[in-house]
């Protein structure tokens, strides 16, 4: 059983307190949606959780140990997908996938076509990323969800630029991840169809601080 918790978090940007005193605990299978208006600190909260932003007040715990004391242990358990897709425009789809695969540390051989089929991009193996549409780039960025074996997912606006079918694929993926004991934290402005799974949510914004 793994446990992810945040304790008394505070985030200050440009002398504005975005949120403070934020505490929360999540265990296997938990699904958390972060809501809030533009600029309310959703992305900052995700980045704090993933350890990208160092905080002065509060702490982020993984299995009851502060993540700063076990950085690589924590980082081999997480998958963070930010606003940017983190794919290289001048590399082909396959080359991008090879790098993603190597960074996950997996030793198994990679079956490009099977993974591309799952995300609805069959036959695009040799296409350069600069030739793809925004939605296709987003799908390629999200392909990490299929390739990483991480327990803890941090997804920042995963449905941006995706069409209906793409959104469905990612929703199903998130649900099956949680069914298998994974933990997902995500931000979105869109409606999620999650068929009866318990969904925790935090609302960020001036009214709720």
């Amino acid at each position: 059983m793994s446990k992810f918790s945040i304790n008394n978090l505070e985030c200050v940007r440009q002398n504005n307190i975005l949120f403070k005193g934020l505490s929360l605990t999540m265990e296997d299978g938990a699904l958390l949606q972060i809501n809030g208006a533009n600029g309310s600190g959703k992305s900052s909260l995700l980045q704090i959780c993933a350890g990208l932003i160092q905080i002065t007040t509060g702490e982020v715990l993984w299995n009851n140990i502060n993540i700063n004391q076990q950085r690589y242990e924590f980082q081999s358990n997480i998958l963070y997908i930010g606003h940017a897709n983190a794919i290289k425009a001048t590399l082909t789809v396959e080359e991008n996938m090879t790098i993603i695969h190597s960074l996950t540390g997996s030793k198994s051989k990679i079956n490009y076509s099977a993974i591309l089929k799952k995300i609805g991009m069959s036959g695009m193996n040799k296409i350069f990323a600069y030739n793809m549409s925004a939605g296709q780039k987003r799908r390629l960025g999200l392909i990490r969800l299929f390739m990483a074996k991480s327990k803890l997912w941090f997804l920042d606006e995963p449905f941006n630029a995706l069409d209906k079918e793409g959104k469905k694929i990612i929703e199903n993926l998130i649900i099956s991840h949680c069914d298998n004991g994974g933990i997902t934290i995500f931000t979105t402005h869109q409606r999620m169809e999650i068929n009866g799974r318990p969904l925790q949510s935090i609302n960020l914004g001036n009214n709720n601080v």
Binding site: Q47, L52, Q75, I87, T90, L91, E95, S102, L103, G105
Partner: protein, 224 residues
């Protein structure tokens, strides 16, 4: 251990492919280097005493300026497309990953720079001792520039205003410039240049050890 060597190779190969596919930055600054060097004989004349005294130092200064032009490419595209977040949050030490990126920068820019310097030396009919000294100091000095530069780039990446990077990197590279030019002067007057070469090698070992650590720390600061 083999896992670490493997990921080092992956990142190295990735950056080499990226540099090869988008080579305008490197080609432009190499041309800048060539043109600046050819300006000196035009303004100072081509008497062999002047050429042998001034040109090696000028080649070094031009190398320094040309390096400044390319340093930003180490992290710019990774910063813009979010790859740097993925590298920072990967299961591998960031220090190792940035080492691979710095090494890739030296291969794509440092090595061509050394080769062009030697060719320019022959073209300007420098003496053999000076060309040899130029070669030794460049091969020790250019990696130092890439390493020091990477720390400064990591600190300033994403800040608009490219001059800041140059203001930080030029003073830091003074020791390299001083030891290199003194070594070349000694070689020109047929004296031993072993002391300066040891100093350069020492600085190189120091920067190889510390610069990747500092770069990784600086990147983490820039991201938060």
């Amino acid at each position: 251990m083999s896992e670490y060597i493997n990921i080092f190779n992956v990142i190295l190969r990735r950056d080499l492919i990226l540099a090869f596919r988008d080579k305008t930055d490197f080609i432009n600054s190499l041309f800048f280097f060539i043109i600046v060097i050819t300006l000196f004989p035009l303004s100072f004349g081509t008497k062999s005493t002047i050429v042998n005294e001034i040109i090696p130092g000028m080649i070094w200064i031009s190398a320094l300026l040309a390096t400044c032009l390319t340093l930003e490419t180490i992290f710019r595209s990774d910063f813009e497309d979010g790859s740097i977040e993925q590298l920072t949050l990967s299961r591998y030490p960031l220090t190792l990953l940035v080492s691979a990126k710095i090494f890739a920068h030296w291969i794509t820019f440092g090595i061509p720079l050394i080769i062009i310097s030697l060719l320019m030396g022959i073209l300007l009919s420098l003496s053999n001792e000076i060309i040899m000294a130029l070669f030794i100091t460049l091969i020790l000095g250019t990696p130092i520039l890439s390493l020091l530069g990477s720390v400064m780039v990591a600190l300033t990446i994403g800040l608009r205003g490219g001059m800041l990077l140059n203001l930080l990197i030029l003073p830091l590279s003074m020791p390299v410039l001083i030891f290199s030019t003194v070594a070349i002067q000694n070689a020109a007057s047929n004296q031993s240049m072993i002391a300066e070469v040891y100093f350069l090698a020492g600085i190189l070992v120091l920067t190889i050890t510390l610069a990747p650590l500092a770069t990784a720390a600086a990147l983490r600061i820039r991201l938060s």
